[in-house]
């Protein structure tokens, strides 16, 4: 399926919804790994919004990227409860291992705050991480 047909299908899937923009953007981010200029232009036309409005929404939310990630994404929690369990030192420990293997993103809390440091790789969650365990996970990517 070409890109426009794909966008059409995503928009059509949400046609019955009230306030459909976020569900649509979530699906676009999921399907393409980003919400790029083409997608924004298409959505403005399809939903009868200005491009500025669509851009304003897309740029507000951390989850929407302008380019797809080249490598697998590792989301490392850097919020307080994980800080108290050593996530800052962990981030430094794995920096070298991550090079060329994955992109490290910061998230603030994964809701696993009693067993940190925690990370999410794609949709799987990992807890009780330390340098060696996380390095092993990265090497397996």
């Amino acid at each position: 399926m070409d890109k426009t047909a794909n966008l059409e299908a995503i928009v059509a899937a949400h046609s019955g919804r009230e306030g459909p923009l976020l569900p649509i953007l979530n699906d676009i981010q999921g399907a393409f790994g980003c919400v790029d200029e083409d997608a924004k232009r298409y959505l403005a036309g399809a939903l009868n919004l200005s491009r500025a409005e669509v851009h304003g929404v897309v740029s507000f939310y951390h989850d929407y990227k302008s380019k797809p990630a080249k490598l697998p994404v590792l989301k490392l929690c850097r919020a307080e409860a994980c800080q108290a369990r050593g996530c800052d030192a962990l981030a430094a420990d794995i920096a070298a291992a991550a090079k060329g293997k994955c992109e490290i993103e910061t998230v603030y809390c994964l809701g696993l705050c009693s067993v940190g440091p925690n990370a999410m790789i794609e949709q799987t969650v990992h807890a009780r991480l330390d340098g060696p365990t996380l390095t092993k996970l990265i090497e397996a990517l």
Partner: protein, 514 residues
Amino acid sequence: MRIAISDDALALACGADAVAKAMAQAAPDADIIRVSSWGMHWLEPLVEVDGVGYGPATVDDVAAILDGSSSLNIGRIPDHPFIAKQQRLTFARAGITQPLDLEDYQATDGWLGLAKARELGPDAIIETVTESGLRGRGGAGFPAGIKWKTVADTKGPKKYIVCNADEGDSGTFADRMLMEGDPYCLIEGMAIAGLAVGADKGYIYVRSEYPHAIAKLNAAIQASADIVAPFDIEVRVGAGAYVCGEETSLLESLEGKRGEVRAKPPLPALEGLFGKPTVVNNVLTLAAVPYILANGAKAYADYGMGRSRGTMPIQLAGNLKYGGLFETAFGITLGELVNDIGGGTQSGRPVKAVQVGGPLGAYHPPGDFHLPFDYEAFTAADGLIGHGGIVVFDETADMLSQAHFAMEFCAAESCGKCTPCRLGSVRGMEVLDRIKAGGRAAADPVEILPQMHNAPKQGRSIDDELSLISDLCETMKFGSLCALGGFTPYPVMSAIEHWPEDFGARADMVKENL
């Protein structure tokens, strides 16, 4: 043989799937079921074999667990002190039922509250919720019954129930555990709210960081659609913005807009989602309602102290030996929670600071351990209980870094609508950076320009910087539109007040500047 293992995201993150798989291979005749989590997180993956618990289990422990010789044996789980000491009303099914099993739900008093609500009708439902003393569990502690009454009394053809499941606070996971572990309880609570105010549509706004909760909710909504009809529920997924937990920002986001906070009035109860009267409640608020309807207002209100009635699912997190979910009546002290229940720090070092109420909550020193868990008591101590998260730090914590992080978080998550928050947070980081560097000997090149009439013409000492940041915090506190900018001063100022030595400041100087 009945073997129960949780499939909650936290158990999965600790390796529950691998253990379950190994169990199935080693005991092919056993009945292996996946249940919600008991909330004893240090013991996950917790394996329950015919009522006896073993944890934290790994694949290597499977054989010993099956023949009963494992040293991980904790005895009967309900008798474990961590569970036996709790008063579980909202989390009564935690660890016991299979989250999506309708028979399990029914067998554990499920849908009794909804049946009662249908019998009572709107006025009596609202009266019951008001009398129970239930207050919003999302942070602000507003009485739920009064909010519902406002929506019920507002005329309109269309009204909404919006469940706030954005749970962005670090140190909190009770919403997640409830959505994953007992989704029908939330659905029942929302349906009761719908009956009370005359709404037939509900939205659950869940943060995107919770894929397991989203999947469970969607499955549960589908399976229970006929039971709650004509009430209809839809899950909406956020997109990684902390501020969308603020109720008006959440409504903007649901409408498909930037999550910018709205000025109040109008209250969402009068003009909420798409301008229609809307109840916005936290997951835990709504999930407390089925118990209240089924057992009566008094049964709930008998728990608690002062104006904080009922129970609170408290979340023990950070550097604690026994972290997890502890639901108990209001009134338990902070010290009991940290030392007696939580077992002190995991690292074994002394406790330095405890942040209560998420990233916008104050840092408390052990000197505050006498404080009872109660909305008013924490407000009086310049803190807040928020969504009930407790994050413990040991003596290695640097409170200047924690204060800096509070400002950094505010800057990263600010919706940008008002200046004290959008700019103040960045200026706050800069001031704290300068304090870290020990003050500034020379004047700032911009500040010495002739047109900068009010700026100092020489360098600033740490004490000057501290008075600057308390000024800034004052401005943020009183000049911000919502609590993101308005409450960020709590963690910052509490850190300076209680640990001035981390800021290179003399304690008496700090007291003067505060």
